[in-house]
Homo-oligomer: 328 residues x 2
Amino acid sequence: MAKSIKEIAQELNVSKSTVSLVINHKAERARISKELESRVLAYVEKVGYKPNALAKSLATGRSNTIGLIVENIGDSFFGPFALYVEELFRKKNYHVLYSSTLGDPQNARDIIDSMLEKKVEGIILAPTVDLEEYQRKILEHKVPLVVFDRNSPTVETHYVHIDNEVSGKNACDYLKSIGCRNFGLVTIDSDQPQMLARKRAYLAFCDTYGMEPRILQLPYQHLKQKGSRMLKNWAAKQVGLDGLFFTTNYLCILGLKVLRSAPENSYNFPMFSFDDHELFDILIPKISCIQQPLEPLAKTCVKVLLKEIDQGISIPKEYVISTKLIKR
Amino acid sequence: MAKSIKEIAQELNVSKSTVSLVINHKAERARISKELESRVLAYVEKVGYKPNALAKSLATGRSNTIGLIVENIGDSFFGPFALYVEELFRKKNYHVLYSSTLGDPQNARDIIDSMLEKKVEGIILAPTVDLEEYQRKILEHKVPLVVFDRNSPTVETHYVHIDNEVSGKNACDYLKSIGCRNFGLVTIDSDQPQMLARKRAYLAFCDTYGMEPRILQLPYQHLKQKGSRMLKNWAAKQVGLDGLFFTTNYLCILGLKVLRSAPENSYNFPMFSFDDHELFDILIPKISCIQQPLEPLAKTCVKVLLKEIDQGISIPKEYVISTKLIKR
DNA sequence: TATTTCTACTAAAACGTATTAGTAAAGATA
DNA sequence: TATCTTTACTAATACGTTTTAGTAGAAATA
């Protein structure tokens, strides 16, 4: 159906080389006459010829595709982040091949393998746990890599992130400032470094002010069913609890659903979220939060990756984006 | 860096063909001896050889990639939808190349062109307006196409959607049942068929019950700034307004922000959304809505597309997924 | 006029795979 | 022993591009 460069050449009675050179704006350099150049151009336009990108990539070694690996494209952090990334790359004529790991390392490994096989020119990755080996693999393949949101401390990569520890401290200080004296932490049962950092901040706060730590770790798998029950039971047992710090927005949402919609509505204390959400400012009461600025985050990832692609792989660096505490 | 089949062959002192046949499980058919087969397999495993997917696709004509074109991957309808799609295709060993049109036909056309150039094996598309020609182009290239959410009536494609007119009628009936006698419609100023159908349902309802139609159309571009102002001004002018029917969830959210957070809080009537949102059930008052079942929607799209890919392009059909009215 | 330089192209090789037709050697048949 | 089959492979071609080295003819130089 789609014509090849060979057919175009035959129909014009010229060589494939000529057509290829003209199409790629190398006519001048190759001393193709203006006359022939415009004849080729006109014909190509007329029949709507488009080169086969696979063949082109194979020949040039450039796929014009980058891989974006997130935890869950459907969630309110990674989804909008992905949109920014896509838009930024579109401007540079790159396409984005995305995939969600859902937190499963095996998914992540499969995704990475097939992205490497498809010869992506770079990868932006929010790693799962146990992914050190595969991050090294990416680097061994000389594919530029930028890691964001969380990293794996034992492998050196460019790393774009927020300062979780400082942000977590700010969150605790804020809760204290509005009167909470016995607030707990609800987090996820994984060893993702950013979650650990948020927990560390909370523990440090407890230590400083002599507050008794109350921590609940919920399972990422089947969070909705299992997590709801666990949270309900846990909360019922806490005496004197006067606030909750959730380490992600989806945990906070779960908390709101489980605790606020309880008929007695007995949990009338402040709930604070790490990560904003588009409806947090119209809930009653409104939800204060740590806001990760998505656009700067995305911009930095893209900028760093493009630089690696254009100028070759460089020594890994860290890029820290500062967060905002939104008081509501 | 990455080894090619040629190098593998040389190192094993066999031909490229042998290696290729073994790798693709055609050893038996090609009468390669068991002994040699396992020797090749072992070596391939040992050096971690992975075929170059671009070359493979070029040779076979199969890219194992499908294109997903949505309006906005960051929003709460398309994001989770995309996750389902991705998961379903992953199981069948396909990868998803996604892109957001942001409602701009020129974006959509560029995206379609480059997906065709990359030889995707099928496309799932939520079309923008003015995209008829390009949908025909996809079909002319013999690439299977499934359109969802909205379609372009003048081009025949497989079309997966909900019944917007019936759903719209149900929404109006519901508002009537809870006592609204003068509710308005807030929609978007585009000619997307699904939006028009929702509006038609509202107008028909007005006609049936002699209710005076009050319709506000907001611009998709710069919705947040412009739309907020327009909505505020419009609402202020409506006397006796006792309810609002928003034709999308992001419009409803805008409505909630603009009207509910008004200090006077003078707009204390029911607001109804077309499309659910994860926080609608913890707002006070809760938001009732028409719920589009994402998973069946995604499953149907994927199933239909896979069938087209496997069994060849067939006569276009419509697939109607029924909605649920969620009363809260 | 013999040599060099330009002009305007093209032939050929390469990218890494899949596939089909072919082939040499061994075994079976008559 | 001459022919046919079977076994176990391989050579060659194709997929659709890019790119570099090459070339024939015209123009310029000496």
